[in-house]
C-alpha cells in the first residue's frame, strides 16, 4: 500500500482530509454524556493528541473512530472508503495473545484478512525490525519486558502499513525511561511509514513532544475546549525536548489543561 502524504509535505490544515467527525455525541446508559458535540477534521499525516483529564471522553472518541462503538448522534466519515488494514490500534495494555509467538502476534491483522503466514513473512520481519525485535520473533510474550511487549504491539499495528493509527495511552503503564525511548521511536517510525496518528494521553509533555495538533478536552460532559498547534518541524529529537520552544509549548498546553480541569459544567 502506498503511504499517504508525508507529514512534512504540507502544513497542518492544508493537508488532504482523511476523516471527519461532525457533531458527534455519545451517551452511555440513559443520561451519561461521555462526549458532546465533538468536531474533528483529521488531515493525512496529522499527529493529533487528545489531551485531557480522565472522564473527558478522549478514549470514547478513539473507540468511536475505531468503530468499536457508534455515535449516539452525529457522523464519522472517512474521506475515501476504509479498506482492510487502513486502521490499526495500540491500546494501553500490549494486548498480546500469550499462546502465540511474537511473530504470530504480529501476523494477527493479516491472519484476520485471511492471508497465509508464508505470504506475509517479509512484512512481519520488516515490522519487527522497525521496532528492533527481529531477534525475538520466536519468543513468547511472557519472556519479554513491558517495553518490549509494547513494541510488539506497535509492530502489529504497523505491519499492515495503516493510513490511520489510533493509540490509547500506549505508554502510560511504562517507566519514564522506556516511555521517552518509545516516544522517540514512534516519531522515527512515523517518519518511515508516514501514517496519520491519533494519540490519547494525559501527559502534557508527551503530547507536545509527539504531536503537531493537541486537542484539549474537558470532562463532564466530555468535549473539546481548545486546539493547540505545535509548529516544530519533524524529525524532532532530544534537542527539542530540552529547547525553550518545547518548554513554552508545554506551558501553553498545561494552561489549556488547567482550564479544562476547571471547566466543569456541573449538572
Amino acid at each position: 500500500m502506498q503511504p499517504d502524504l508525508h507529514p512534512s509535505d504540507a502544513p497542518v490544515g492544508a493537508r488532504p482530509p482523511l476523516l471527519a467527525m461532525q457533531h458527534v455525541d455519545k451517551v452511555f446508559g440513559r443520561d451519561v454524556v461521555a462526549l458532546r458535540d465533538m468536531d474533528l477534521e483529521v488531515g493525512q499525516g496529522d499527529f493529533i493528541s487528545l489531551l485531557g483529564p480522565s472522564g473527558c471522553g478522549k478514549s470514547t472518541a478513539l473507540r468511536l473512530i475505531a468503530g468499536l462503538s457508534h455515535p449516539s448522534s452525529g457522523s464519522i466519515r472517512w474521506a475515501r472508503d476504509r479498506v482492510d488494514g487502513d486502521l490499526s490500534v495500540v491500546l494501553q495494555e500490549p494486548t498480546l495473545m500469550p499462546w502465540a509467538t511474537v511473530a504470530q502476534n504480529v501476523f494477527l491483522p493479516f491472519r484476520l484478512q485471511g492471508r497465509r503466514f508464508r505470504a506475509v513473512r517479509d512484512e512481519i520481519l520488516e515490522a519487527l525490525k522497525l521496532v528492533g525485535l527481529e531477534k525475538f520473533q520466536n519468543a513468547y510474550p511472557r519472556e519479554l519486558s513491558g517495553g518490549m511487549k509494547m513494541r510488539v504491539s506497535i509492530a502489529r499495528a504497523l505491519v499492515t502499513r495503516p493510513r490511520l493509527m489510533l493509540m490509547d495511552e500506549p505508554f502510560a503503564a511504562l517507566d519514564e525511561i522506556t516511555r521517552f525511548k518509545l516516544n522517540n521511536d514512534i516519531l522515527a517510525l512515523r517518519e518511515k511509514i508516514g501514517c496519520t496518528v491519533i494519540f490519547v494521553t494525559h501527559s502534557v509533555f508527551e503530547s507536545v513532544f509527539l504531536s503537531d495538533r493537541i486537542v484539549v478536552m474537558a470532562a463532564r460532559p466530555g468535549r473539546v475546549i481548545r486546539e493547540l498547534r505545535v509548529d516544530e518541524p519533524y524529525p524532532r529529537g532530544e534537542a527539542f525536548r530540552t529547547s525553550a520552544e518545547y518548554a513554552a509549548q508545554c506551558r501553553a498546553a498545561s494552561e489549556a489543561l488547567k482550564q479544562a480541569m476547571g471547566a466543569h459544567d456541573e449538572h
Binding site: L68, L112, Y140
Partner: protein, 291 residues
Amino acid sequence: MSIDADHGLQPATAGSGLVDAEELARLRRRRAERIGQWVLPALVVILTIIAWDRIVVWGGIPHYILPRPGLVAATLVEDWPLLFESLLVTLQITLGALAIAVLGGVGLAVLFTQSRWIEMSFFPYAVILQVTPIVSIAPLIFIYVDSKIAGLLICAWIVAFFPILSNTTLGLNSADHNLRDLFKVYGATRWQRLRFLQLPSALPYFLGGLRIAGGLSLIGAVVAEYVAGTGGIGSGLAFRILEAGYRLNIPRMFAALLLIALTGIVIFASLSFLSHMLLRKWHESAIKRET
C-alpha cells in the same frame, strides 16, 4: 527464562567467599522438598502395607475377612486373565464416555457462547443432570436403552461431561476484552474470533475440566456397572467386585479394587501430562517459578 530480568541472579564476584545463609537455606529446603516429594509417599505406602500385614497376622484375622497384602498380590497374578479382560471393558467404557464428554461438552460450550439465548435455555438442564445422583438415573436408563454398552456409556457421560462444559464455557467467555476489541477493529468474523481467540483462551480451563472429567468418567463407568449388574462375558471390574463379594472371595475384591484405583491414577497422570505439554510454553500454571 526471562530475557531482561535475570541480572540480579548472576554471582556478584565469583569466588568472593561471600555466602548468604538465607539463600543456602532456601536451596537446601528446595532440594529436600524435591526428594521428599517422591520418597515420602512411597514410604507411607510401604508402611501401610507392612502395618496391614501385621494387623492381619497378629490379629489372627481370617483371609475371607481381610486378606494379607501378599495374598491380594497373588490373587491379582492368578486371576489376571479374568481381571484383565474386565479391566479392558471398564477402560473401554471410561475412555469412550470421556471422548463423548469432550465432544459434547466442548460442542455445547461453543454453542452456548455463540448465543446467550441457547445458554440461558439449556444450561439449567446441564445443572440438573449434574446434581442428580447418577445411581438414581441409571436404572431408568437401563430400562429405556437396550444395549448395555450404550447404557453404560450414557451413565458415564452424564457424570463426566459437566466439568468440561462448565469449564470450557467459562474459558470461552474469559477471552481478554482488549483482544476482543482488537479482533473487532481488524474485522474478525465470528468463526475467526472463536478459532483464534476464544478456543486458545479456553484451553487451560478445558484442560482443568478434562482432568476432573477423566476421574469422573471412571466413577460413572463403575457406578453404572453396579447398577446394570448383569454378568458373564464382557463384564467390567465393578461387576467382578460384586461377584467376588457374593462368593466371599475377598482377595479378588481387593485385587479388582487395586486395578480400578491404578486405572484412575494412570488416567489422571496422563491427562496432567497432556495438560503440561500443551501449556508449558505460555501458561502461568505450567511455568516453573525461577525465584
